[in-house]
């Protein structure tokens, strides 16, 4: 029994690392640009297809193609901010939600047209191996994904706290008008925020590829998780999103283990609704400090 629980916790933590990459992106865009990106999961999907095709056509390992998907998605983020998000910034909630929502629909359906609904997987030497830690069993691919995800999160934290651009982003998140008065160029800061967020989604996609199938709707699984984690962790709070994502992963995993294979999501949604009912501002509050 204890072993089962511990094993479920380990599995949950590992997948929670991937949720963290997606939700940190969502919370970063929300914190800095004040827009909820409903299409964040679709960028995970795009990165998965990038890694899939690089692996299928050129035999490149998904961990290597991380070096392709992250920069590509960073540039996509800059373009997204410049051509779409920038134009709805002054328009209020509704057009902003419609825009990212339409983008999500568009990307899913274009992927469906181009790649069909088939599941695509990449088999790597470490896809089916696992480490034996006492009685616990740690799948190698998920462990690597988790460690890279944590390293990237730590890098982001350093970026936000130790570089001028990162500090400018935090300043813009705290008070956009004052930050602009201090000479911070909002377009540049917003562009980088969206770019970094998409690059994190890109990392999530490539890291998933060795153990998770790519298909057009795959992003929706992750974006729903990310939304829950971002609300739990307080919108705009990077550390909050990270901790909440790990909690979500564990909750989902325990739900699957003890309530049934189809119940992971129920546990997650019930957590979301309870949080909204009891602590609408999330568990942590405030911008990451």
């Amino acid at each position: 029994m204890l072993t089962t629980i511990a094993q479920a916790v380990v599995n949950g933590l590992l997948i929670g690392g991937i949720y963290a990459l997606v939700s940190i992106g969502v919370t970063l865009i929300f914190g800095v640009v004040k827009i909820v990106n409903f299409a964040q999961g679709e960028f995970v999907m795009i990165a998965m297809y990038i890694s899939y095709f690089l692996a299928a056509n050129y035999g490149i390992d998904p961990l290597v193609s991380l070096a392709v998907s992250m920069p590509v998605l960073f540039v996509v983020g800059l373009l997204l901010q410049h051509f779409l998000i920038r134009r709805v910034l002054a328009l209020g909630d509704m057009p902003q939600i419609f825009l990212t929502f339409a983008l999500s629909l568009l990307l899913v359906n274009v992927a469906l047209l181009l790649f069909t609904a088939n599941y695509r997987t990449v088999q790597t030497p470490y896809s089916d191996t696992a480490l034996q830690l006492g009685v616990l069993y740690v799948p190698t691919a998920k462990l690597i994904a988790f460690m890279v995800a944590m390293a990237l999160s730590a890098l982001l934290w350093v970026f936000l706290h130790a570089t001028d651009l990162g500090k400018a982003m935090r300043a813009a998140a705290q008070n956009r008008d004052v930050a602009m008065l201090m000479g911070i160029n909002p377009d540049r800061v917003f562009g980088v925020a969206v770019g970094v967020a998409l690059a994190l989604a890109g990392a999530a996609g490539s890291l998933l590829m060795p153990f998770y199938p790519a298909y057009p709707l795959v992003g929706q699984v992750f974006v729903l998780m990310a939304f829950v984690a971002v609300v739990l962790g307080t919108l705009g709070n990077v550390i909050g999103a990270l901790i909440a994502s790990l909690m979500m992963g564990v909750a989902e995993s325990l739900g699957i283990q003890f309530v049934g294979a189809d119940s992971g999501l129920i546990v997650v949604f019930v957590m979301l609704l309870l949080t909204l009912a009891l602590r609408p501002n999330g568990l942590f509050g405030g911008w990451s400090r």
């Binding site: 909820v36 779409l84 134009r87 709805v88 328009l91 909630d93 509704m94 057009p95 902003q96 939600i97 419609f98 825009l99 929502f101 339409a102 983008l103 629909l105 568009l106 899913v108 359906n109 274009v110 992927a111 469906l112 047209l113 069909t116 609904a117 057009p216 729903l224 939304f227 829950v228 609300v231 919108l235 049934g260 189809d262 119940s263 999501l265 129920i266 949604f269 019930v270 979301l272 609704l273 909204l276 009912a277 609408p280």
Partner: protein, 335 residues
Amino acid sequence: MHGLLNRDGFWVGALLATALVLPLLVSSAFATDILIRILLFAFIGVAWNLVGGYAKQLSLGHVAYFGLGAYTSTILLIRHGVSPWIGMLAGGVVAMLASLPIGALCFRLRGPYFAIATIATAQVLMLLFLKFRDFAWGAEGTTIPNLGDSPLMMQFDGKAPYYYIVLALLAVGLAITYRIEHSWMGYYLVAVGEDEDAAEAVGVDAQRIKRNVYLISAFLTALAGTFYVQYIYFIDPNTAFSFNVSVEAALVSIIGGIGTLWGPVIGTVLLEATSALLQSWLGSGHGGVQLTVYSLILIAVVLYRPTGLLGVLTDAYDGVVRARMTREKKVPLDG
């Protein structure tokens, strides 16, 4: 008294007459099916528009009420032999009851938080219907027993009766919207939609007004759910709680003109006509084309015409009218 009685009254009358004779002119079942889809989604859009359009509460979980309506009438029909006509009203009541706790939870949130919470509630309902097999057939769903031509059980041989039922539903939805639009409730709703804090500051009970309009919207959406299962003779959680229904309800209103009486109708006609044309050009089996086009239209509308396409039509109409009768000046009702 303006509006329905004079110039607009002429157009509404003409539109209604056309709608009434249309099934007599259209002989193919395929075309009638498209017309039924247009009226059904226009009706769902009209119901959504009360909450999403006038009160600007972007619900992306309206399928919750569609599904509850569908399941209530089906359970009553199959387990207890109750006519779907009664089941339809019962479904509406169930949806209203469900909208109270869901609304109490979600309306504490604003903007994107509200949208996310509504998605979550609809998903939870779907997962519950998937999980509890004994209660409602689980993932396999069930077919509606075919009783032949029995109007009392809302079952008909041809498609025309279904057309008239959903036309009547749409007419009811539009009439209710018209009444609300021209009542104090309508003005309160628009005030809450524009700026909730300012509305509360001048004494509008925003929570109560949102709850009331949500009740009406949930009731109407549930009627559509019952109609839909009776029309397709099949129900399962993935159909009854399909996220696409929530999306389309919002899309048609946004594209047509959010918070306007005719916006959802215009939007549905445009989207469904586009989709039917695409299908006849490309044939079926090109999954994704329809929603690709929908989303491109939506992005274009958001960027270039955030008030929706109804505005384009009324502007053009006004241009024509102004050219003819320079004395008449239309007072725009919506911003």
